[in-house]
Assembly symmetry: C2
């Protein structure tokens, strides 16, 4: 996408979007997605990989629950990437990621992803710029492999929230008993590194855009969910899938 | 290596090599390899991937047994690549290969490999030339990932036998009761495709040589084992490994 700067991009829905109307549209899209996923699974020629990235409390879990939660779980897989284990660290950084790549017929969700290896790691200087550059090349090669050798359609979403919105959500986790399980005091420390995170994200969007990123204004969940559902639906629709006939 | 033509390369040891002398040298090298492997395992900074390719009866199993058989099995893994399973076929062709890539500290042997996806598949026209070209690009990217992101030193050996030698060995499998378990009548059918195999191998050596291939004259097992052992030993030696001190 060339040079982009997250700080110049709005985190809110455009003015002409009405919440109730948009929610109704999303409902219709989700119903279409359900049909299309069934077809994806039946045909088993393509797969979908949805990469979900974003700062803490940007609403990644919400996307998984609200956009993909009603699909047939037989064809939807979720992989959450945490800090690598010692076994994972004894391999290249894409080893664990490749294992989680989708089989034909499947929608695979990545809650965080291989991109953490050039994001949190850069912010904390666990990975220097030279290594980061090599990793970005390897990521592009890897995404090309999945795209060209397994008909995997990769959708990459960055959930774009403002620092103020993040602060509000992190504080809510202290006071709301249904959200306290998500509370981690370290998140407030990470939040102080906001500008550093934005800088490495900007660099990532510039250099790892062979498969394009979508920046999703995410301060309002209803808009975020609409944008993502719409893009997944449009991608599935573009595949011109057909139910296979009887096997001969 | 530029254009090469297997038919112009000898399958036999050079004249000045004496069998008994060479075997004695190999024994010494194997003892060194044993020490160096222990160090590789202890240091756990590098890994070795040995790709063994060759026609039927070219002696791949013999290399594994005679060159690597005496090493500590805790640090030597063998993966034999057979026809892909339905699950493997539902992923890109490197998915199963990446899973078998070596952890740091390990020597991983591939008995056949990802190269079958541009060899047997091309000979039988399961894979067209356009796909083969894309796969060769993906293979180069993949080998670069292992090399640059996990200190994996890849050694690729083609066991070069003559069609006459192969015929003799395949026939031996009929008459020698200790070799009958290897007999497969289909091997004789494959052998008829010799020239087609040589053509796709030649193409592979030209286009997938970022990590260089070694063509090993393999009509005589003693010479084949010497060449491979020597190269593995030299590679291990070049790593300048050291035993880690006490953890602090």
């Amino acid at each position: 996408m060339g040079k982009i700067s997250l700080k110049d991009i709005s985190t809110r829905a455009p003015k002409n979007f009405d919440k109730a109307e948009t929610k109704a549209k999303t409902e219709k899209i989700l119903a279409e997605m359900d049909e299309l996923q069934n077809l994806l699974y039946a045909e088993s020629k393509h797969s979908i990989l949805v990469v979900i990235q974003g700062m803490d409390a940007s609403g990644k879990d919400g996307v998984i629950r609200n956009v993909f939660g009603k699909l047939n779980p037989q064809g939807v897989m979720v992989k959450s990437f945490k800090a690598p284990t010692p076994e994972e660290l004894s391999h290249d950084f894409l080893w664990r990621v490749h294992q989680a790549a989708p089989a034909k017929g499947v929608i695979q969700l990545f809650n965080r992803s291989h991109y953490e290896d050039i994001l949190i790691t850069r912010v904390h200087k666990w990975c220097d710029d030279v290594t980061a550059k090599k990793r970005m090349k390897a990521i592009n090669d890897f995404e090309s492999l999945l795209t060209n050798h397994n008909n995997t359609h990769i959708l990459k979403f960055y959930l774009h929230v403002s620092p103020e919105e993040q602060k509000g959500r992190l504080e809510e986790r202290i006071h709301d008993s249904t959200k306290q399980w998500k509370y981690n005091e370290k998140d407030f420390e990470e939040a102080k590194l906001w500008d550093q995170y934005m800088a490495v994200y900007d660099d990532c969007f510039e250099k790892c855009n062979d498969v394009p990123w979508t920046i999703v204004p995410s301060d309002q969940n209803w808009y975020k969910e609409y944008i993502i559902a719409k893009q997944v639906r449009d991608t599935l629709k573009s595949l011109k899938m057909q139910f296979p006939g009887l096997k001969k």
